[in-house]
Subunit: 403 residues, 2 copies
């Protein structure tokens, strides 16, 4: 009799009809003889509503109080779901983050989990209860309520699965698994039966927002099998995210895109040790997220560095760079706007030299210009014009999946 | 520099405009050099909304989960009010019931406070913070969230004032104090400057719902001066509820009524020790609340007992009595419906024989029949027909206050 952790997001618990669907998924595992720990988010738009009310009071809310406010959302869901299961004659108990407790650091609105105390959960499980746990929230060592930031409930679920040594963690969502690409862009997307943690990390950082990176990283670290499943299908098999690699399967697992990014090129940066570090430290201090970085080989007195940022960070980035032009010592800044990063992901890439060639061929055949190329062990990304990004994804998908 | 506890109810915190009024009251005390602990309820109709959502799930919710659900209401208010004060450049910190902690017994939905740990509050106060505390909620010794039931936030406020040895507890409400009668019934009501705990207890059990009995009882036990004030008036003096009696003031302090009650008379109950106890034990076991009880002098083999219950308990009461007729051994049950209890309250009553006569005279002059009379040290109550109750209150009020 193993422990199963199930996580249901905001749209899966949005109303009573959906809570009944959720209860069905829970009861199914209970009837199969499993101990079930359920992690839930706030219902539907609850968190958005609370934040809107906060914004009426202040645009710059105290972060501690923000967490006190928004953590009520999950608390409402756990009480309702526990009541519903009890109404259906199952033993169920709700637990908030502080009741478990899930101990985090004190970085309000974006806390990291330090450790989870299993005692309370195990006591309730051993007494035959279904446990309904509030996702997204914890408590710091001074007794303050904290929240985990984006992807918080997924993180709670996988962290609990790791801490409880659960058999698996099922992440229930609107889609029934991880797909080879975005179904809104590609008609013939294929659902993946399994995918490795590393591939999933690349997929989700590429904009395939099925799972948040933080939860995949915890899954990888503690080797928790994660299933992505649909709340709305009775027998969704979903996609298994695990350490098993897929060499015997498809050579690539997905095509993704990330629209509206800009490329900035710093021309003539002094070729001195520490200059690159100094550059990115300045950007980081100004809270600018940099994605791809390419540095020309530094055999000369100066070097060029190109990197990408989100379109809405472009102006700020250029301003920050100009302000530090003298300290950094470079000649000029170039930039290109309205680009999109299109990527293919798969553990096969490093081992199959033909993959990059196939990708580039698909773009060439469709007359799509590549502004930048980067590769890693499991990913190849190219920058294309944003108005060609859908076409690029379709062409690449066709090349690899629709033969 | 003393500690002041201020309590603001649901309608006082219903929206941002009102939260700003509340902030003004708080800041005024802070600027006067006081340490301020604020207790708040859930905003406006929040609790009603949560209970309506609960009722969609089940009509018979698990009480532990009910408390998890409804306690979110106050948590939302404390976060918002703390944010607002911080936005106005005051140091403020919110605390839930479990964060303080306010330790209660485990009677979910209707818990009693066992004790309050002052350490966290005092630490924050000494660091110069305004404390914003969630009313109505606590935590039991097993770490479960509990709620205090009706009047819970008033109880939290006065209990905190007692525990912290506060200078006073200000209960802010829609009205600016305690009145001699209900302003909806009497035109010329008079606000009382002060009233004793005992009188206030009689007033509020009589239907003058300004303060809940539980909070007055705690105030009396720990001698906490309680001020009832208006949120909506800048310089409301309010009414002081304290141990000082008012012998030098009005001989009575208020006229109240309680509509829609019934009188039941048990005729021919066996005049044996224990029979009266047996009767009221059966009623109590069936959750029937009995108010006035009058027993005829028992010099005979049988005795008659009359008592009052709420109209909507009447049928149930008669059914329960009929079912136990053989065990109890009585001859018959009589009952009168549609009665109202009209009472006058004041510490002067016991010392001034003319008071009762004046009250009865007012009723006689208005041709109002009295179906029952009971008196205590500080109260005289009569039962009249419900359709005469407004007239009765007006006549008595006029007799005592409008000379």
């Amino acid at each position: 009799m193993g422990i199963i952790v199930q996580k249901f997001g905001g749209s899966s618990v949005a109303n009573l009809d959906r809570l009944n669907l959720v209860a069905d998924h829970i009861i199914k595992e209970v009837e199969n003889g499993n101990k079930v720990v359920v992690v839930v988010s706030a219902q539907g738009k609850t968190t958005d509503r609370l934040i809107a009310e906060e914004n009426e009071i202040t645009q710059n809310a105290n972060k501690r109080e923000h967490d006190v406010l928004v953590s009520t959302g999950e608390q409402i869901t756990i009480a309702k779901l526990a009541m519903l299961l009890i109404e259906k004659n199952y033993k169920a108990v709700s637990l908030t983050g502080w009741q478990i407790p899930i101990i985090t650091n004190s970085e309000f609105t974006n806390s990291r989990i330090r450790y989870i105390n299993n005692d309370t959960i195990e006591e309730y499980l051993n007494a035959g209860n279904i446990l309904i746990v509030a996702g997204f929230q914890g408590i710091d060592e001074n007794g303050n309520i904290t929240t985990l930031g984006r992807g918080g409930s997924d993180t709670t679920a996988v962290a609990l699965a790791a801490s409880l040594n659960a058999e698996r963690c099922d992440i229930f969502t609107d889609v029934d698994g991880v797909y080879t690409s975005d179904p809104r862009v590609i008609e013939n997307v294929k659902k993946l039966d399994k995918i490795s943690y590393d591939e999933m990390l690349e997929m989700s950082s590429m904009g395939a927002k099925v799972l948040h990176n933080r939860c995949v990283e915890i899954g990888k670290k503690y080797n928790v099998p994660i299933y992505v499943k649909s709340t709305f299908e009775k027998n969704s098999i979903g996609t298994l995210v695990s350490s098993k690699n897929n060499l015997e399967d498809l050579e690539i697992n997905g095509v993704t895109k990330d629209d509206y990014i800009s490329r900035i090129t710093i021309v003539g940066l002094e070729n001195k040790i520490g200059k690159t570090y100094e550059l990115f430290k300045i950007l980081s201090k100004n809270l600018i997220n940099v994605d791809i970085i390419i540095q020309s080989f530094g055999e000369h007195i100066t070097k060029d560095i190109a990197f990408t940022v989100k379109m809405n960070d472009l102006k700020k980035t250029i301003k920050v760079l100009e302000e530090n032009k003298n300290d950094l010592g470079f000649q000029e800044i170039l930039h290109s706007e309205n680009l999109s990063k299109v990527s293919i992901i798969g553990v096969g890439i490093a081992n199959k030299p033909g993959v990059a060639a196939n990708m580039f061929e698909a773009l060439y055949e469709n007359n799509i210009n590549m502004h930048m190329v980067t590769t890693s062990e499991i990913k190849i990304s190219v920058l294309v014009d944003v108005d060609k990004s859908d076409l690029a994804v379709q062409a690449i998908h066709k090349k690899f999946f629709e033969k």
